[in-house]
Amino acid sequence: MIKVEIRGLHKSFGENVVLRGIDCDIKTGEVVCVIGPSGSGKSTFLRCINCLEQPTEGTIKVDGHLMDEHAKNIDELREDVGMVFQQFNLFPHLSVLDNITIAPILRKKMDKATAEVTAHELLARVGLADKANAMPRSLSGGQKQRVAIARALAMKPGLMLFDEPTSALDPEMVGEVLDVMRQLAEEGMTMVCVTHEMGFARQVADRVLFIDGGVIAEEGTPDEIFGNPQGERLKGFLSAVAEA
């Protein structure tokens, strides 16, 4: 089953053309990792999927519904698409528990008690059962990101987008976040991850997209992409990453 259908996606910011025509289908349950040099349009591609960026041209459909920021039901459509950001973006004025329950209470009209039970379960799942009443400022980066994942999962999304979720973390905290993501992938979540963690992409992805210059320059299984890169640009990118 096709979860996301992307056709002829172009995105420009003023004169700056970022995406130059992307076609891509993502199947339900598929884990897709997006790699590529910085400035190549990976994040913009991801942000178009839940319409944080409105495409300049082309269409994105999630479960057959057109993602358009002017659509009346765009808020409802976004409920099904969870997103995790590089900078966590936890709500600093709300406790960990309130961060997780605010959307289910406001959007799904869930009563507070039910939402909190779910939130506690999610916190346990990401290994932060004891942090429910903490404020975000008291958490480490890795803990913040795990709360952000729990927050997104609280809406029971059918698709999760990860925008470089470990890039702002200290090295020793990368593992705990990737573990949660790996577990999510094993449970069958449909995921699109923009990442610089080649090890994670290699191990967890069903498919890897190499985006360069605003197009999908190469795509395939992790074995194909990492084991047998075809184009010069991908080869150059992989060797640059390996040196780092």
Partner: protein, 235 residues
């Protein structure tokens, strides 16, 4: 003895012994405190309304509707571009004469001060809202929160914290600006001071007393504000 009464005292040329400072102080203080009470009432009512005007105007200023943005810009430009004294006269004498209505000096003062402070506050709030990390809006929208839920539940609570120092600043200014409203004949603290001086000719002592009362009221407010600020701080 009649000569002890404030109405008769202080005037050397009346041929009576000048009143001692202690007597002047004890006689004046209740009147000045009554003036201060009115000052604070005028300021409190005006500032409460100004906060609402400020939030609405700020939201209009950032609205996607161009007409709203223009209204906000014009409003702020007029408020900033004209003296409060002129605004007060315009409302108390100008508007009432054209509309043929009667208005108390207090009412005119409230209208002038709340519009005036509201104009400045709208800029404070706009700045505060725009200072909230754009990632906050993105995170809220990605969870499915609507634009207005995002604004009221996520952005405004953070913007308020950012705004507190500037808002308290504006409160202090508006409390002092009530003295300008004294020209409308409203017996707030400054006017009260003038009236006592008119009878006692004791400018030096009275203006010190008036000044100290303003200072104490505002100082207490800023102390309170600092406590609140520390309480709600996110750092």
């Amino acid at each position: 003895m009649a000569a002890q009464h404030i109405v008769w005292m202080g005037a050397g040329e009346r041929g009576v012994v000048p009143m001692s400072f202690l007597d002047l102080f004890l006689e004046s203080l209740p009147l000045l405190v009554r003036g201060l009470t009115l000052t604070l009432e005028l300021a409190a009512v005006s500032l409460a309304i100004a906060m609402v005007i400020g939030i609405v105007a700020a939201l209009m200023g950032m609205s996607g509707v161009p007409v709203f943005r223009s209204i906000n810009r014009a409003f702020v430009a007029v408020i900033r571009g004209t003296p409060l004294l002129v605004q007060g006269y315009f409302i108390y004498f100008g508007v009432t004469s054209v509309l043929d209505i009667r208005m108390s000096a207090f009412m005119a003062g409230v209208i002038a001060l709340s519009l005036n402070a509201g104009g400045y506050m709208s800029e404070i709030f706009r700045g505060g809202i725009q200072a909230v990390d754009p990632g906050q809006r993105e995170a809220a929208r990605s969870l499915g929160l609507s634009a207005s839920q995002t604004t009221w539940r996520i952005i405004i609570p953070q913007a308020i914290r950012i705004c507190i120092p500037s808002v308290v600043n504006q409160w202090c200014i508006t409390i002092k600006d009530t003295s300008i409203i004294s020209v409308l004949g409203f017996a707030e603290l400054t006017k009260m001071g003038q009236q006592i001086i008119a009878r006692t000719y004791r400018s030096f002592e009275l203006w010190i007393m008036v000044g100290v009362l303003y200072f104490v009221a505002i100082y207490l407010l800023t102390v309170l504000a600092r406590i609140v600020e520390r309480k709600v701080s996110l750092d």
